[in-house]
Amino acid sequence: MTIEEKAAQVVEEFEMFGDWMDKYSYLIELGEENEPLPEELKIKQNLISGCQSQLWLVAEYRDGKVYFRADSDAIITKGIARVVLRVLNGESPDTILNCKMEFLDKIGLTQHLSPTRSNGLNAMIKQIKLYALVFKTKYEQNK
């Protein structure tokens, strides 16, 4: 599936929900199902600052693709992270760098995106793009 297809799928899923309560219930469900990060990865280096909730993000580069894992002490934050990562995981650094994240707007999550918003979604996206840039520079500069 391309990144566009994945994003479209997420948008479609969220469109099924009539009201915000169902949307949040779904985010909570996603958050609860999130595979927790092992404790040894929940360290300061992986902690995204600027969040009212704590959010940890780790990234790996395998065969030209980037894979993220995230965890948080707040369930909604975890749910939101899962939605974002479902779309971005397994993509190339370039695709991630070029992704405009419009799907977040369509599912009504952009209210969480302003820099002052305390769940750190904005900070997380910045960090994701930073990882993509680092991997691109480190592994792909000779391409």
Binding site: Y24, I28, Q52, T77
Partner: protein, 406 residues
């Protein structure tokens, strides 16, 4: 004026707002209060008809604005029970007031080996300026511990005082726990050891009686926006003899007497500490806000707030998963709590969607969070315009919130 909450509510246009289609329940008054129409009108009038720069102009409008501003200063003096208007300095708010003292008093009076005492329940604004001062001067910052109930043990406090103590800074009311501190006793004890006292009135000013002469504190600081005034205006009260000995904080216009490139002499109090054009609109708004606040009988206000506090506390206690942080015997209408299994951020997000504005997080009091071994709390802080019906809405919303996370 008779205390009539329904009538009071009509003074606050923002209470008419709906949030996500639900009537707003505003329980974030500890962060900032809503503004009454009277204050809004006063600020509007100033910028519409009265705007002019103060203190320098000979023209009519400038003199009028100067008179109004100085009348406002006189009103603040009376409000605080200060001796003279020389003791009333307008600042941006509590944070700037504390920074002014830390910087100016600190430079003049704090030396290596001296001790500064703050309590464990302080807001960062009443910790960090002292910490920086200690780093610069070689003084030592000591901490007055807070007990499990959220109260300061006076004996423990006294045991920390010595002739090395040069300044003690503490809050009148905790922004997290709601604890009303015994500020008069704490101030007197500090003076027994020759220390100066700064009281952070950011929360206290809008819940309790203040008289700086009775308290005998050396400094009292507060922000206007937490007592119905505009943002960006606050007050530093300082005893005249102490302020006289303090060097200027910021420099520029207004605070000078004579300037030449060889030497500058400074203006008298309070202008010595008011460099630059003051926030005249804010100052006039502050005066109106204080007049508004003082139009109510404080006894009635306290009765109303106590009723809200008791009512909300009783209902919160009925939730098995809710734990209230801060059970002081003397408490203002501020309730912090944690929910077993629900992160404060998650709770705040859902409560917001239900039209209830609360504050979540560490409330700029991280040392206090560490003290109670928590990451943060949900805080409901109530004031004169809040009602039992709003507490009911809040409790129902909380019930629904907790259900979503089980």
């Amino acid at each position: 004026m008779k205390f009539d909450v329904n009538k009071i509510r009509q003074d606050f246009p923002e209470l008419q707002r709906e949030i996500y289609g639900k009537p707003l329940v505003y329980f974030d008054n500890g962060a900032t209060t809503l503004k009454p129409q009277q204050v809004i009108e006063r600020v509007k009038k100033y910028y519409t008809f009265d705007n002019a720069n103060v203190h320098r102009g000979v023209h009519f409008l400038s003199q009028e604005a100067t008179t109004e501003m100085e009348n406002a200063r006189e009103y603040v003096r009376k409000f605080l029970g200060a001796e003279s208007t020389s003791e009333i300095i307008f600042t941006k708010g509590t944070t700037e007031s504390i920074n002014l003292v830390a910087s100016s008093f600190g430079r003049r009076f704090i030396k290596r080996g001296d001790e500064i005492l703050v309590s464990e329940m302080e807001h960062h604004a009443n910790i960090v300026p002292w910490q920086l001062l200690c780093q610069q001067s070689g003084a030592v910052l000591k901490v007055i511990p807070v007990g499990d109930s959220g109260e300061i043990d006076l004996e423990l406090y006294e045991s920390l005082l010595s002739e090395k103590t040069k300044l003690v800074a503490f809050t009148q009311i905790s922004n997290v726990l709601g604890t009303v501190n015994p500020v008069k006793e704490m101030s007197d004890l500090a003076h027994d050891y020759g220390a100066r006292v700064l009281i952070d009135g950011a929360q206290g000013v809008a819940h309790d009686y203040v008289n700086v002469r009775e308290l005998d504190c050396d400094f009292y600081v507060f922000s206007g926006h937490k007592i119905f005034a505009p943002m960006g205006i606050g007050v530093l009260y300082g005893k005249e003899k102490v302020l006289e000995e303090m060097p200027p904080y910021q420099s520029g216009g207004e605070m000078i007497d004579k300037v030449s490139f060889e030497e500058t002499t400074f203006n008298d109090l309070p202008f010595k500490f008011e460099a630059g054009t003051p926030n005249v609109g804010g100052i006039l708004g502050l005066e109106t806000a204080l007049r508004y606040w003082q139009s109510f009988d404080l006894k009635e206000v306290k009765k109303h707030e106590k009723d809200l506090l008791d009512y909300a506390t009783e209902q919160l206690t009925a939730f098995p998963r809710v734990k209230i942080i801060g059970r002081a015997a003397n408490k203002a209408s501020v309730i912090s709590f944690v929910i077993d299994g629900v992160h404060h951020y998650d709770a705040g997000t859902i409560l917001d969607r239900l039209g209830v504005a609360v504050r979540t997080g560490h409330h700029c009091a991280q040392p206090l969070m560490q003290r109670f071994d928590i990451q943060g709390t949900v805080r409901a802080s109530m004031t004169i315009y809040n009602t039992r019906e709003e507490v009911d809405i809040f409790i129902k919303a909380l019930e629904r919130t907790i259900k979503m996370f089980s």
